[in-house]
Subunit: 148 residues, 3 copies
């Protein structure tokens, strides 16, 4: 928590952006992004699953597509602590998992997540090395789908 | 996704701020902000509406005021791609539209939005040229209003 | 709303980070953070409470711990206006207050907050001098707790 330092701000922003690109990879089915934002041996783990390495990580969007009609990952606050070429932090997210139940209706599983993140800098770029999902609370709600 | 570059991050931050100023214009009824953040021929379009040009854009907050007791636009993640003096991106938002139903109770229409945004740089400043609302899902909930 | 200026953006980012550290102090029970992010005579006030000075501010996380099983403060958009060594702004937040009702179930009080914030720069660092909670709307929902 030192005074404003543009260089440090840029690094925090770069790490902040990783969480936003993760959301985009999942919600828009853009698996190639995951290869860019995870280290080679990067891992994601959550309630009942553990996925490691680019081959398997790049398969997550297709898995979500099979299980849900669509997802919506709203990314919120993040605090990060730097330690040389590694860093660790916590990232808040509201993750919605939609299942269509009618032409313009759906059932949505909402997770309030605090990702426990670890980062590594390789070739001058920050990437995720590990994301662990803590699902603080979950609810299922009935929703309307204005665009069908 | 190049390495940390303070100048580029400042530009991303400037664009990020446009979405936050948009929320403020709507929720606090400050239409003048819209004249600052949209290009002269800027457009907003969503389910059932299309609004273009400063005269009409500056009328949106009053329209919302007529239709709802208040609104609350929580802005989340954004990814942007730059192309010279234009840029395009996606901005997540939870938009709450409140209708008072009693002294301390209300009905709230909640939209999970992914704005499809286009931006243009004019006279050294970024502005929206086009915002298209994709409402991923919607629900109506009963709420309490602690302040009345 | 001047053109991109890395130094100004770094300052906005520093202030933005205060809200995120506040969330962490509350949700992870790290009261020492509050001593870092509030001025000596800093105040937080909301519906039915007013808390001023480091001794009392540092007691808030323990108060929340007594009242709720856990909290989750998702921080959203913020707009800030600078005036020399002071600044003021508005910060959006979704604050969840969880009460366990069973081994894997809970009752969650959700607040949609617009903090009315004042900031002061002391010894080159920005801090909160005053946070006022405006709770725009509230609801109580039944939730599942995947981790128990």
């Amino acid at each position: 928590m030192s005074a404003a330092d543009p260089a440090r701000f840029a690094e925090e922003w770069e790490i902040h952006r990783l969480g936003q690109l993760y959301a985009r990879a999942m919600d828009r089915n853009e698996p190639a992004i995951l290869g860019e934002i995870f280290s080679d041996d990067g891992m994601v783990e959550g309630p009942g699953f553990k996925i490691q390495g680019h081959t398997d990580l790049l398969g997550i969007p297709a898995m979500l597509k099979k299980q849900y009609s669509s997802t919506f990952h709203a990314v919120h606050n993040q605090t990060v602590t730097f330690d040389g070429d590694t860093a660790s932090g916590e990232t808040y997210c509201s993750a919605y998992h939609l299942t269509k139940t009618g032409e313009k209706t759906g059932s949505r599983l909402d997770w309030a997540i605090r990702y426990q993140d670890r980062f590594v800098r390789q070739n001058g770029r920050w990437r995720f090395s590990h994301r662990r999902l803590i699902v603080d609370s979950a609810q299922t709600v009935t929703v309307d789908l204005p665009h069908g």
